[in-house]
């Protein structure tokens, strides 16, 4: 059902855990299946220096959480904001069609963490763009 890349990120997820003194925290629930992801970021000079996550969800949710955090680590906040779930799916070398929606969880949770950081810094919130690839089942 899942390819080896997905299984690797599922079985050996990168960046799991919490950051106690996080600069931003984002939590998102998947309305379609009720799964939850929580993201913690540490930001220095507009760069995501560290990132950790916790996920309650299926194999695809856990693997895309792992992959997404890998992809944004060391990136600027703008670059991280632009990371789409599509890019996560591509980096995972594909998900089954019915599981593409799971990757949205990571994108959304990272967005929330970034906006939480911006809020704490007194900066305006960034707007979500519409038209995500989420309903593929």
């Amino acid at each position: 059902m899942y390819n080896e890349k997905v299984m690797d990120h599922f079985e050996n997820p990168r960046n799991t855990g919490v950051i106690k003194d996080a600069d931003g925290i984002g939590e998102e629930g998947n309305p379609q299946c009720g799964d939850i992801m929580k993201v913690f970021i540490k930001v220095k000079d507009n760069i995501i220096e560290d990132i950790k996550f916790q996920t309650f969800g299926c194999g695809a949710a856990i693997a895309s959480s792992s992959m997404a955090t890998e992809l944004v680590k060391g990136k600027t906040l703008e670059e991280a904001w632009d990371l789409s779930n599509k890019a996560v799916v591509e980096a995972l070398e594909g998900l089954p069609p019915a599981k593409v929606h799971c990757s949205v969880l990571a994108e959304d949770a990272i967005h929330r963490a970034i906006n939480d950081y911006r809020k704490k810094q007194g900066l305006p919130q960034w707007e979500e763009k519409s038209g995500k690839e989420s309903h593929h089942h």
Binding site: Y2, F10, P13, E27, G34, D35, F56, G59, I62
Partner: protein, 393 residues
């Protein structure tokens, strides 16, 4: 990579391996004895006699007459036929059906479709164990009720319903009673006469028979339309060239299952209880289904804070095949309606695990599962945002 040294199949409620002696019995009908039973030449006669023998085997297993047994392509067809067939044949008498909220989709989706055709359906609730209260059935009966359809044993939680009580009520009130016994046949004793069952569905691959085979028992008093119109097979009630090897396999597999039932139940109940008790030692875990009124091979358990598909994937890597009622594992992204009907809330239903034992399950398998599951649960709990601090490690 998957641990190829182990292969522990604990999903016997999904499907079972074909018994080797059943396969052997099917071989002649997949090679030289290929005749169409409806024809009159000699090789057809061999097929015809084999089908007749299987019909007697199935009848004997449930206390029916051979002429009350009709072969189908599986449990799904039997359920669809029983329900639609009775509804279409008796719609002049009324258009009300009684069923439960924990049926297999082969029953519940059929009922939903009939609602679109103008039938009315009452869905009886269940208690926390998944048990139907016969009094609720009695209270739901109306003047226009034409059918009661209630499953014998639940496929997810293993709960065995009070079929004899419900059958008695149905017979007294003169209403046809169908039971989806797909999970029960070959596993627990059934007698259609004393239990007042008018129709009963069964499926070959649930008791180590072949896939794509099933049967519907139809008692003499039942008025029913065919679901499969066509040729004159099955006394003109179920058309289609007979799947002779499949029918032969179904008959023998059921005969063997019934003859070994007593002994194998004892063995399975012991293994089931060991496994259940061991898994319940994991904190914040819950058994689902009834503790005693339960299929001998069914272990259903819920682990809080984690998600079932993830559990299955990790179990698979350890060579263990199992099942879950989590939404993430279903094409519809709906969590198990059965666990919801038992009163578990949606998040908790997410963490359900079903292990269903079979012929080949040993004490060593149970030991291995009891070693493996707690590790997996801990690993996933460590990763979950919901886990309280005291359960992390």
């Amino acid at each position: 990579m998957t641990d190829k040294t182990r292969m522990i199949y604990m999903d016997n409620a999904a499907t079972t391996p074909l018994r080797p002696e059943v396969f052997d019995a099917m071989i002649p009908f997949m090679t030289h004895n290929f005749g169409n039973p409806s024809s009159l030449y000699d090789i057809a006669k061999i097929s015809r006699e084999a089908v007749a023998k299987a019909r007697s085997q199935v009848a004997a297993a449930i206390g029916a007459q051979p002429k009350e047994i009709y072969f189908t392509s599986g449990g799904t067809e039997s359920d669809n036929w029983a329900i639609k067939g009775v509804c279409f044949a008796n719609q002049n008498k009324g258009k009300h059906i009684i069923t439960t909220s924990v049926e297999h989709h082969a029953v519940s989706h059929t009922c939903k479709w009939l609602e679109k055709q103008g039938f009315e359906v009452t869905y009886i609730p269940v208690d926390n164990y998944g048990l139907v209260d016969p009094d609720d059935v009695s209270a739901a009966i109306r003047d226009d009720t034409i059918l009661i359809t209630i499953m014998f044993a639940n496929n997810e939680i293993g709960t065995i319903e009070p079929i004899a009580e419900i059958g008695k009520i149905a017979r007294e009130r003169g209403i046809l009673f169908h039971t989806d016994a797909v999970q029960a046949v070959g596993h627990v004793p059934i007698d259609v006469v004393s239990m007042n069952i008018d129709m009963l569905s069964l499926s070959g691959h649930k008791f180590n028979g072949p896939k794509g085979t099933g049967a519907l028992y139809i008692g003499k008093r039942v008025k029913i339309d065919p679901l499969m119109h066509g040729g004159d097979q099955e006394r003109r009630r179920r058309a289609g060239t007979e799947n002779v090897p499949g029918i032969v396999g179904l008959g023998l597999a059921l005969e063997l299952s019934v003859s070994e039932m007593e002994e194998s139940s004892k063995r399975l109940i012991r293994l089931r209880n060991r496994l259940t008790e061991g898994l319940l030692r994991i904190p914040r875990s819950h058994i689902s289904g009834h503790p005693e009124e339960r299929l001998p091979n069914n272990v259903s358990i819920i682990f809080e804070y984690i998600e079932g598909e993830s559990i299955l994937l990790m179990l698979n890597r350890k060579g263990i095949s199992a099942s879950t009622g989590s939404a993430c594992n279903s094409a519809s992204l709906e969590p198990s309606h059965v666990l919801m009907a038992c009163g578990f809330n949606p998040e908790i239903v997410h963490g359900s695990l079903r292990l269903t034992l079979g012929h080949s399950t040993t004490d060593e398998d149970v030991d291995y599962v009891l070693e493996t599951v707690p590790e997996i649960v801990q690993k996933l709990r460590n990763m979950s945002p919901l886990t309280p601090p005291e359960l992390r490690s």
